[in-house]
């Protein structure tokens, strides 16, 4: 049996990569993918601990995280589509109308 700490280590790495994606990449879609990745790493931790404590609640939470992710993607992409239609670019840095 692989100890849960390994899974944790893995999910942290994935999480870090996700964060790097968000911070570094300028393409909005890649950004979304990075977020999906981060969520996925969180799921991993949930399932790992669910196995460790033997309680299915962890998995239920994963289930909910998934639905949230799906909803978030749907809305996100719709946003990208509309922004693209008005700005003809999905570069995150172009969208800075709300400058202070």
């Amino acid at each position: 049996m692989i100890p849960t700490s390994y899974y944790l280590a893995l999910s942290v790495i994935l999480f870090a990569i996700g964060v790097a994606g968000v911070l570094l990449r300028r393409n909005a879609i890649i950004l979304f993918m990075a977020i999906e990745l981060m969520l996925n790493s969180a799921n991993l931790v949930f399932v790992a601990y669910s196995r460790q404590f033997g309680a299915l609640d962890g998995q239920i939470l994963v289930f909910f995280v998934m639905t949230v992710a799906a909803a978030e993607v749907a809305v996100g992409l719709a946003l990208i589509v509309t922004i693209f239609r008005s700005k003809a670019s999905i570069d995150v840095d172009d969208i800075s109308m709300l400058k202070g």
């Binding site: 280590a9 893995l10 790097a20 570094l24 991993l44 460790q52 639905t67 799906a70």
Partner: protein
């Protein structure tokens, strides 16, 4: 219960594939490639779920994440033709180095915590009876203890759908507003 070697090997191999796929998603300049890399990553994570005794979640992972969401991504990428991003100039000067520092910092802290003395991960992994992660178990738990969150998420999804439709269907709406103003 120390991990027996073959299991460890499988875990490490899969782990490496997952990380590689993630880095690939990150580095690839073409959006489609990164999307595909992500699909691979999701697949590997699904297998991890199987290892961790959560077959239903694994299946859900594959169908929902890899299937639905990534397909959506691909669809949007194709719709917008965003495979090749034209490099625009204004890059934020100190964005890149600071973020790398922060990521490294994050990694170091978490590793310190995870592998160090912090979390007593405990090796007494209980090997539950079979059908631990089976759909019937999850189903019973889901519809008893978590009934309310379940209903709430359904509303969330509904809202997301409506939102998406409204956002994208903007053109027809604008014409109706302009007409009312002219009356």
């Amino acid at each position: 219960m120390l991990p027996n070697i073959p299991e460890l090997v499988i875990f490490l191999v899969l782990a490496v594939i997952a990380v590689a796929a993630a880095l690939g998603m990150l580095a690839s300049s073409n959006a489609i490639y990164s999307a595909l890399f992500l699909v691979v990553n999701f697949g590997v994570v699904a297998t991890f779920y199987l290892l961790l005794g959560a077959p239903f979640i694994a299946m859900a992972q594959v169908t929902v994440y890899a299937g639905a969401i990534m397909v959506l991504f691909l669809f949007v990428i194709m719709l917008l033709g965003a495979e090749k991003m034209k490099q625009t100039s204004h890059n934020l000067l100190w964005q890149k180095p600071l973020s790398i520092v922060l990521i490294v910092l994050l990694l170091s802290i978490s590793f310190y915590v995870v592998l160090g003395q912090g979390v007593s991960v405990g090796s007494d992994l209980m090997q539950n009876a079979s059908g631990y992660g089976s759909p019937s178990a999850i189903g019973t738990l889901l519809f008893q203890k978590y009934l309310f969150p379940f209903e709430a998420t359904s509303i969330l999804l509904l809202a997301a759908m409506v939102g998406a439709v409204v956002l994208t269907g903007v053109r027809r709406q604008r014409r109706r507003i302009r007409k009312s103003r002219r009356l």
